[in-house]
Assembly symmetry: D2
Homo-oligomer: 189 residues x 4
């Protein structure tokens, strides 16, 4: 959905255009709805490496956690870290610069009382540490979303601020992600 | 386990004795390992009302959340609140004073990064509000555990401080719960 | 849904009328969507015993199994049997005759290759044995559905024969259940 | 465990030796406890292709189903088929002959009343059809186990005949798998 009209990839293009940098960046969406880290690994050559990207922003984790509850088919924490690391190594071996993202939200309550906040925090802790250890830039969407919701969700609503349904981004959410990603991507040398 | 030697019920008896109040309190454990709120409702007459208690401390919720992940047989949030309220009404109709407890922990990490912290927070939020609305005393074990762990768990270990295995209380944990419960129970008029 | 127009309770009334027995039977639906055996126990007095029924047909089990996968909140096998038995005892103590039903299907494939066939068979085995031990009539919907599907589902479709969506009955399914229930209910002395 | 002393790989070696064919076969175990189809794909080059095998017996599926219930981290049916097919294609591209196996059991009850029989049947149906379509030999362990249990499990026990604990093979189970695999492997040209 990020690559569709109004999606955060399309909104990043607008931000890039506003800064007069359109001729320096070509944004290509490779996300597929419902994908987990294992799926990214399966189609890495075909859908990403084949395009010889300079920079790859990896944004995966929501479904890895969410599907544990939704269908019994989420990704074990340890397996998540193994597949993630395998993807980063393949990307780097191909000469791409990698940008890490933490998973934003499954539910917008601001006090860690959304059903799967524990796991999102757990996976995000690993991603932050991994990015630090590997000296990779990290778009910390989880922290940015949480800070935004603490400031802007007085009723502690579980959806409707940055998502339509607890998970999928609404217009404001796409704008929010676009800004956060661009802020980091523009610093990649 | 709370009613076994070293368990929090036995440790409360010691605290009561220390204050010279042993002749005013008789503590009876009615908990059964693995029970959820539905189980308490099923055996309320037989195991609790039959003893004509003056005060009933309800401490249930860990298994209701934990078994969602462990066995696919946890308790829906809405059903939890319905059964809980039905238990309280039956107890009050029988003349017992009710003390509410929030569920402590499934994992001792201090930063809400234990797998099921989100749901424990969610169920605890409801219990706190319910106690307030019904003017019932509340032993807020979840908040007390979290505050203790923030102060005493610098390595962010997931077990070993107040539990043996993320869930079951060790000696310090039993002591901690005994103190917290007694502090509230002694105020019940 | 069984009590709505076209539902199996309404269709049983037609079958009863066809046999000229309408003045001997009054059918009252007490089912609520999404209920499990624990929910039936919770509202037994209010919704069933209060009506002083002569005969009670208990049809529960689909959600107890289905919700394990759907939401992590199904009913443990042993707890299912405990609550079921508690319900039967309360009904019999109130003078009602009890009719047992096995759960029909979650998916209509005929070769035990629907996701939760194993558990439906497991719970049904218990119900059949329980009915036998307690000398209660049993509407063995599971066996009747399976036999029907073996005979009528050559493409091994997972829905569309007796259900709309693997679980909820279509018109033919409601007719099928009505016939099966009536066949047994009419024999209750 | 299949590669340890007494495991089915070691027992196949004995069968091969009994037929005087030890100089024609070298058996190498590459299984890792708890692995699912995604894990096999992740380490295919390192642990299998690097050894330039002539024949590869793929036996995966138990954990893909079991972990849905055990940890919420099983493998979606469609993803199972995608990763499986990707593995077969890589093996064939490397010149290896592939042997398919259906997953045996999670529980030894003979009447499809083990908790996850539905899913094991579902995944096995796909594997049988896939092997047929691709003209690959198939060790149909599921059918062989089921036939054995129908003949030899009169008490409908859930463990103890071919497994120790519903899943892991006992001595008889290892012998049973060894015979079934060898019967097929010896026919591979």
């Amino acid at each position: 959905m990020g690559a569709e009209p109004g999606g955060y990839i399309r909104q990043m293009e607008t931000l890039i255009g506003n800064e007069g940098l359109s001729n320096q960046f070509e944004l290509v969406g490779a996300g597929i709805s419902g994908n987990k880290v294992t799926d990214l690994y399966l189609r890495l050559e075909r859908d990403v490496l084949s395009k010889q990207p300079d920079i790859v922003v990896i944004y995966v984790g929501i479904n890895d956690v969410w599907h544990k509850r939704l269908a019994g088919t989420g990704t074990d924490y340890v397996k998540y870290t193994e597949f993630y690391d395998a993807i980063v190594k393949k990307l780097q071996a191909a000469g791409a610069k990698v940008v890490v993202c933490t998973p934003s939200v499954i539910g917008e309550r601001k006090d860690n009382s959304n059903e799967q906040d524990g796991e999102l925090n757990m996976y995000s802790n690993w991603l932050r540490q991994y990015a630090k250890d590997k000296q990779l830039p990290c778009v910390d969407l989880r922290t940015e979303f949480q800070n935004y919701l603490i400031a802007n969700n007085p009723a502690n609503a579980e959806k409707g601020l940055l998502t339509t349904d607890r998970v999928h981004l609404n217009a404001a959410g796409n704008q929010f992600v676009a800004k956060a990603m661009w802020k980091t991507v523009k610093t990649v040398q």
